[in-house]
C-alpha cells in the first residue's frame, strides 16, 4: 500500500479495497520499522492517528467524503498541532505543546486526513541540509551518507522512504523545492498568500509559504486543494477563489511558452544536473511546448538580498523565545539579563544564532540603509525581472538546485557554500511567485529536480505541466534502492 500515490489511495478507500484504519496501521508499522534509519519523523502520533482513521472510515462509509478523508499524511514540525509537541526542530521548543492548530493542520483535519506524526526539519527552518535540527540530521533515503536537503528534509525523506504518501512543508528560500529535488519527489511552494501562515512558526514572514510534498504532481494538486484557503487570521492571506487544482491536469502543453533563464545555467551548475534538466525541457518541447531563452539579469543578487531580509525578519520573529513565557529557560538564572542570554544561547543552535546576529546587525542604526534598505531595492528589481519575463512566457523552468545531494559535513564549515544551495530557488520567494520541483533525472545515483516557476496564482498551470511531464517520464516513479 505504501507504493500507492494519494490518487490511488483515494480510489482504494472509496472502493473499499482497504480501510483508513488498515492504511494508517500499515504506515505506522512501516514508520516503527524503518524511520530510525532516516530520522525523518520526530513525533509519531499513533493513537491519535488510529482514532482519526476510525472516524474517517465512518465518514467514508456514509459516502460523499472529501478527497483527503482517511489519507495518512505527515506535518512538518513547524506547524502548530493542538496537544502535540511542536518543536520547530529546536531545543528551544522541545517542551512546547501548542493549544491550537495551524490553519493548514485544521484544513486537513476538517477533510478527515489522518496525521501520522511530525517531521524533522532544520532548526527554525534555517538550513539546506537538515543538519541543524536539534533532533539530529535526516538521512537521504537514496544515500544515507548524503543530506536530504532542507529545511523540509524530514517531509521529503519520509515521502521518498514511503513512510507517508504526502506531507506538508514550508519554503522560505527553497525549503520545499530543494529537498524535493534531492529526495526525488514533487513539491510545490505556492504564491505568497495562497496558504495561511496562521500557526506556522515564523522564520521570515514576508517569504514563508507552506506547500505540499508528494511523489507526483497530481498528488500535490490534491493536497493543495485542501491546504489553500483564505484566512482572516493571517493579514497577508489573499482573498482569492481556490480553484480545483486537479481539474486542469489533463490539459495539453502544446503551444505553452517556457522561459529558460540563461542565468540559471551558468557556472556552478553540475554538468549532470544540467544535462538532466535540458533533457526534460526537450521532452516538453517534443510535446509541443515552445522554449524561449530569457534573462533574469538580477538573479545573482538574490542570495545576498535574501541573506539580509530573511535574517532581519528572523531576528525579530525569534525574539519571543526569551525563556519568559514558554519554551526553554536556562537553569538558575542570576538575573533577568542572565536568563535572556543563557536561555537563548543554550536554546538556539549555531546556525539560528548566526542568522539572528546577521539580522540584528543589518537592522542596526547606521547599517539599515546599506543593508536592509538596499536589499529591499534589490527585491523590487528581482520582482521586475520576473514580471518582465512573464510578459512573453507562460512558465519559467530551470534546475531546482546546482547539484545532487551532497554528503554530510561537506558544507558544514562554510555557511556561504550552503547558502548557494538555494541560488535558483530564492528569487521566487523574494518575488512572492510560486515555484515547484519535480524529479527529472538521476545523477550519480541520486535524483535531481526540474524547477517550474509560475506567475502569481498560476499554480494550476504549473501542476498541469508537471503532471503532463510525469505522463511522459518515469523519474517520479524511481525508488531508492533501500526502499524497493
Amino acid at each position: 500500500m505504501h507504493n500507492y500515490t494519494i490518487a490511488e489511495l483515494i480510489k482504494g478507500l472509496q472502493n473499499n479495497e482497504f480501510s483508513s484504519v488498515e492504511l494508517t496501521q500499515h504506515f505506522l508499522d512501516r514508520i516503527s520499522q524503518i524511520n530510525d534509519d532516516y530520522n525523518a519523523i520526530i513525533t509519531v502520533t499513533g493513537e491519535q492517528a488510529l482514532n482519526s482513521a476510525t472516524l474517517a472510515d465512518q465518514r467514508l462509509s456514509l459516502g460523499d467524503a472529501p478527497a483527503m478523508c482517511g489519507i495518512p499524511i505527515l506535518h512538518k514540525d513547524i506547524f502548530c498541532t493542538d496537544g502535540v509537541r511542536t518543536s520547530c526542530g529546536s531545543k528551544m521548543l522541545d517542551n512546547f505543546i501548542p493549544p491550537y492548530n495551524a490553519t493548514v493542520v485544521e484544513n486537513f483535519a476538517r477533510d478527515g486526513a489522518v496525521m501520522l506524526g511530525k517531521t524533522n526539519m532544520d532548526e527554525f527552518a534555517m538550513g539546506s541540509s537538515n543538519e541543524t535540527s536539534f533532533y539530529g540530521p535526516v538521512k537521504n533515503p537514496w544515500a544515507t551518507d548524503s543530506v536530504p536537503g532542507g529545511s523540509s528534509g524530514g517531509s521529503a525523506a519520509a515521502i521518498a522512504a514511503r513512510l507517508a504518501p504526502g506531507a506538508t512543508a514550508t519554503d522560505t528560500g527553497g525549503s520545499i523545492r530543494q529537498p524535493a529535488a534531492l529526495c526525488g519527489i514533487s513539491g510545490l511552494k505556492p504564491t505568497y498568500g495562497r496558504v495561511s501562515r496562521w500557526g506556522m512558526i515564523a522564520f521570515a514572514s514576508s517569504l514563508d509559504q507552506a506547500g505540499p510534498m508528494a511523489r507526483t504532481a497530481e498528488d500535490c494538486a490534491i493536497l493543495l486543494n485542501c491546504m489553500a484557503s483564505f484566512d482572516e487570521k493571517d493579514s497577508t492571506s489573499v482573498d482569492k477563489n481556490v480553484p480545483d487544482y486537479t481539474a486542469s491536469l489533463g490539459n495539453s502543453v502544446k503551444g505553452l511558452k517556457i522561459g529558460i533563464p540563461k542565468e540559471y545555467f551558468s557556472e556552478g551548475l553540475h554538468p549532470g544536473t544540467e544535462m538532466a534538466v535540458r533533457k526534460a525541457l526537450a521532452d516538453l518541447e517534443a510535446q509541443g511546448a515552445e522554449l524561449v531563452e530569457i534573462s533574469l539579469p538580477n538573479s545573482e543578487l538574490s542570495v545576498p538580498a535574501y541573506y539580509v531580509i530573511a535574517p532581519a525578519e528572523a531576528s525579530a520573529n525569534l525574539s519571543r523565545f526569551d525563556g519568559v513565557k514558554y519554551g526553554y529557560r536556562c537553569e538558575n538564572p542570576k538575573d533577568l539579563h542572565d536568563m535572556y542570554c543563557r536561555s537563548r544561547a543554550e536554546g538556539f543552535g549555531e546556525e539560528v544564532q548566526r542568522r539572528i546576529l546577521i539580522g540584528t546587525y543589518c537592522l542596526s542604526a547606521g547599517y539599515y540603509d546599506a543593508y536592509y534598505g538596499k536589499a529591499q531595492q534589490v527585491r523590487q528589481l528581482i520582482q521586475q525581472d520576473f514580471s518582465e519575463a512573464f510578459k512573453s512566457v507562460d512558465l519559467i523552468m530551470g534546475p531546482t538546485c546546482p547539484s545532487p545531494a551532497f554528503k554530510f559535513g561537506a558544507k558544514g564549515d562554510d555557511p556561504v557554500a550552503m547558502y548557494l544551495e538555494d541560488i535558483y530557488t530564492i528569487a521566487t520567494n523574494l518575488a512572492g511567485l510560486p515555484g515547484m520541483s519535480v524529479p527529472c533525472g538521476i545523477v550519480e545515483d541520486k535524483p535531481v529536480g526540474l524547477q517550474i516557476i509560475g506567475n502569481y496564482f498560476d499554480e494550476a498551470r504549473m501542476l498541469n505541466v508537471a503532471h503532463q511531464f510525469q505522463q511522459i517520464t518515469n523519474w517520479h516513479q524511481q525508488t531508492p534502492e533501500a526502499i524497493s
Binding site: P98, M200, K233, T236, A316, S319, R320, Y372
Partner: protein
C-alpha cells in the same frame, strides 16, 4: 540671567475599543492578571496579528479633531527590545509613516489669551503589559500581567511649542477634553488611560537654539505633571548657573514622594532596529472613510464653547470651563434644558456639584445626584419655590439619596412662602410684637433706616422658619413701615 523654558509632550492615549489592537481579547481594566491575554497577546509561536479597524477609525477621528493630515497609507513597524512585559520582543508601532500627520491644538490661558500648539504627528501602536515586583510574590520573583499588552494606543507627539508648565497643563487638559469629547478614550487618568512624557529644556531668553532636553516619562496626573516640570526647570537652571551641563537622559518623577531621578542616559538608550512589520499590510484609508468619520465626528470642545455662549448665554469663562469637560458638558446640558435657567444651572454644576464630586473623588458619570435631579432643583429656585439658601439643604439631601428635589422640599417643609396674604400676616405680627424697634425705626434718620431693616427681616425669616420669600417680605415690610412714617 533670565531663562526660557521649552516643553514638548508625548502623550499616550488608550483607545476605548472593546478588543485589543491585534487580537480579540478584551481591553477592560482591572481584570485578574493574565485573564485577558490570548495566544496572540502571549506571542505564542505561529500566531499573527489582525488589525482592529475601530482603532484605526479612532486614530483618524483624532486626526480630524485636530485638523491634521490623515496619512492614507500608513505602515506598522517593529520596535525591537527585550522586556518581560513585551511578549513578542518587539512593539508593533508606527515610525516613518504614522497615521496622523501635522495638526494643531489651541489652548486658552488664564489671562484669556489663546495659543496654538503644533502636533508633529500621532501614531497607532500597542501597549505593553505590566511587570510587578511587589505583592504576593515569592522572594526574588517578578510578576508579569499581560492584560494590558496589545491595548490600542495613539501616541501624540507635540512640537516643542510650550513655554511654561501652565501652557503644558493647558495643552494636556485640552487633549484630554478632545479625546473624551469624541469618545475615543475614557480619559481615566488614574487607570493609565492617558499618560504623559514631558520633554523639558531651558535656554537664555532671546536664544533661538534649543538647550539639551530631558524626558520625564509616564506622568498620569496633571498635578504630577506640573510638579515634575517645575522641578525639572528649576533643576536645569540651577545646574547651568552652577557651571554644569544638562545631560540628555530619561527621568522618572514619583508624585507620591516628590522625588525625580535619572532612569537612563542617552548612551544607555536602546537601538530599536525599527523595520516594517511583515505580518501587517500597509493601512490604506479611503477618502470615503475619512469623509464618513468627519460627518460622524462628535462636537469638539471649541465648537461646544461657542454654542454654550450663543445657546445658553453663558459667559466665555463659564462656557470654556464647562465645554472643555465633556462629562460636565453633558451633565450641564441636561440641567440647563430641564431647569429653564442655564446660568443658574451652570453655577450649580461648576460650583456646588463640582466641589462635592471633587471632595468625594468622583467624576460626573459617578455623581450621586443625577442631572435630572439637579435640574428639578434648579427649576424650583427658578420658580421661587425655594431660596438659594434652602437649595443648599435640598442639594445635600439629594446627595445623600433622599429623593428628588420636590420630594425633599415636601418632606422637609422647605417650600418658600410667596403667598402675599400669608406674608402680610407674618409681617404684621412681627411688627406688633416689636413696637420698640418700630419706634426706633421711625425716629431714626433716613440714612440709618435701611440698616435697621435687617433686624426686622431676621425676625420675620425666623417666624416663617426660613420659608418666607425674602424679596416679597422686603417689599411688604417697606410698604408697612412707610405707612407708619
Amino acid at each position: 540671567m533670565s531663562w526660557e523654558t521649552v516643553i514638548g509632550l508625548e502623550v499616550h492615549v488608550q483607545l476605548a475599543t472593546k478588543t485589543k489592537i491585534f487580537s480579540a481579547a478584551s481591553t477592560a481594566f482591572g481584570a485578574t492578571p493574565n485573564s485577558q491575554a490570548c495566544a496572540i497577546d502571549l506571542a505564542m509561536p505561529g500566531t499573527l496579528p489582525v488589525l482592529n479597524k475601530q482603532a484605526v477609525n479612532y486614530a483618524i477621528m483624532f486626526g480630524l479633531a485636530i485638523d491634521a493630515d490623515i496619512c492614507q497609507e500608513s505602515v506598522f513597524e517593529r520596535k525591537n527590545y527585550f522586556y518581560p512585559d513585551l511578549p513578542k520582543g518587539y512593539q508593533t508601532t508606527q515610525l516613518e509613516k504614522p497615521i496622523v500627520g501635522r495638526g494643531s491644538v489651541t489652548i486658552q490661558l488664564a489671562d484669556g489669551s489663546e495659543k496654538a500648539i503644533g502636533i508633529h504627528h500621532a501614531h497607532l501602536e500597542e501597549d505593553a503589559g505590566k511587570s510587578t515586583h511587589e505583592g504576593n510574590l515569592p522572594h526574588g520573583m517578578s510578576g508579569v500581567d499581560l492584560n494590558r499588552a496589545g491595548t490600542p494606543l495613539i501616541e501624540i507627539v507635540s512640537e516643542p511649542d510650550m513655554r511654561s508648565a501652565e501652557e503644558a497643563i493647558a495643552f494636556a487638559k485640552k487633549l484630554h477634553s478632545i479625546v473624551t469629547s469624541i469618545n475615543i478614550c475614557d480619559g481615566e487618568m488614574s487607570q493609565g488611560s492617558m499618560r504623559f512624557d514631558v520633554n523639558v529644556s531651558v535656554r537664555p531668553i532671546g536664544s533661538s537654539v534649543l538647550g539639551t532636553r530631558t524626558e520625564t516619562k509616564n506622568l498620569n496626573s496633571f498635578k504630577f505633571m506640573e510638579e515634575a516640570i517645575e522641578r525639572e526647570v528649576e533643576r536645569q537652571i540651577d545646574l547651568i548657573e552652577d557651571g554644569g551641563i544638562v545631560a540628555q537622559e530619561t527621568r522618572l518623577y514619583n508624585g507620591d514622594t516628590k522625588v525625580a531621578k535619572s532612569m537612563r542616559s542617552k548612551e544607555e538608550a536602546n537601538d530599536y532596529r525599527y523595520f516594517p512589520c511583515p505580518d501587517l499590510l500597509p493601512v490604506l484609508i479611503s477618502d470615503a472613510t475619512i469623509e464618513e468619520l468627519r460627518q460622524a465626528l462628535p462636537e469638539l470642545p471649541d465648537a461646544r464653547q461657542k454654542r454654550f455662549v450663543s445657546q445658553y448665554a453663558l459667559s466665555d469663562y463659564d462656557a470654556n470651563i464647562i465645554a472643555n469637560d465633556s462629562n460636565m458638558s453633558a451633565f450641564f446640558e441636561v440641567v440647563a434644558e430641564g431647569s429653564n435657567n442655564a446660568k443658574l444651572a451652570a453655577n450649580w454644576v461648576m460650583g456646588e456639584l463640582s466641589g462635592a464630586l471633587n471632595n468625594a473623588d468622583l467624576n460626573f458619570s459617578g455623581s450621586p445626584v443625577s442631572p435630572q435631579q439637579l435640574a428639578g432643583m434648579v427649576a424650583r429656585i427658578e420658580d421661587n419655590s425655594i431660596s438659594g439658601k434652602m437649595a443648599k439643604l435640598v442639594f445635600e439631601a439629594m446627595w445623600k439619596g433622599e429623593g428628588t428635589a420636590d420630594e425633599i422640599i415636601q418632606a422637609k417643609g422647605l417650600k418658600q412662602v410667596s403667598d402675599s396674604g400669608a406674608l402680610e400676616k407674618i409681617v404684621a405680627e412681627v411688627l406688633d410684637a416689636n413696637l420698640a424697634m418700630v419706634e426706633d425705626f421711625i425716629n431714626s434718620d433716613e440714612s440709618k433706616r435701611k440698616k435697621k431693616l435687617g433686624g426686622f427681616m431676621g425676625q420675620i425669616m425666623k417666624a416663617s422658619k426660613g420659608q418666607a420669600n425674602p424679596q416679597q417680605v422686603n417689599q411688604i415690610l417697606l410698604q408697612k413701615l412707610n405707612e407708619l412714617l
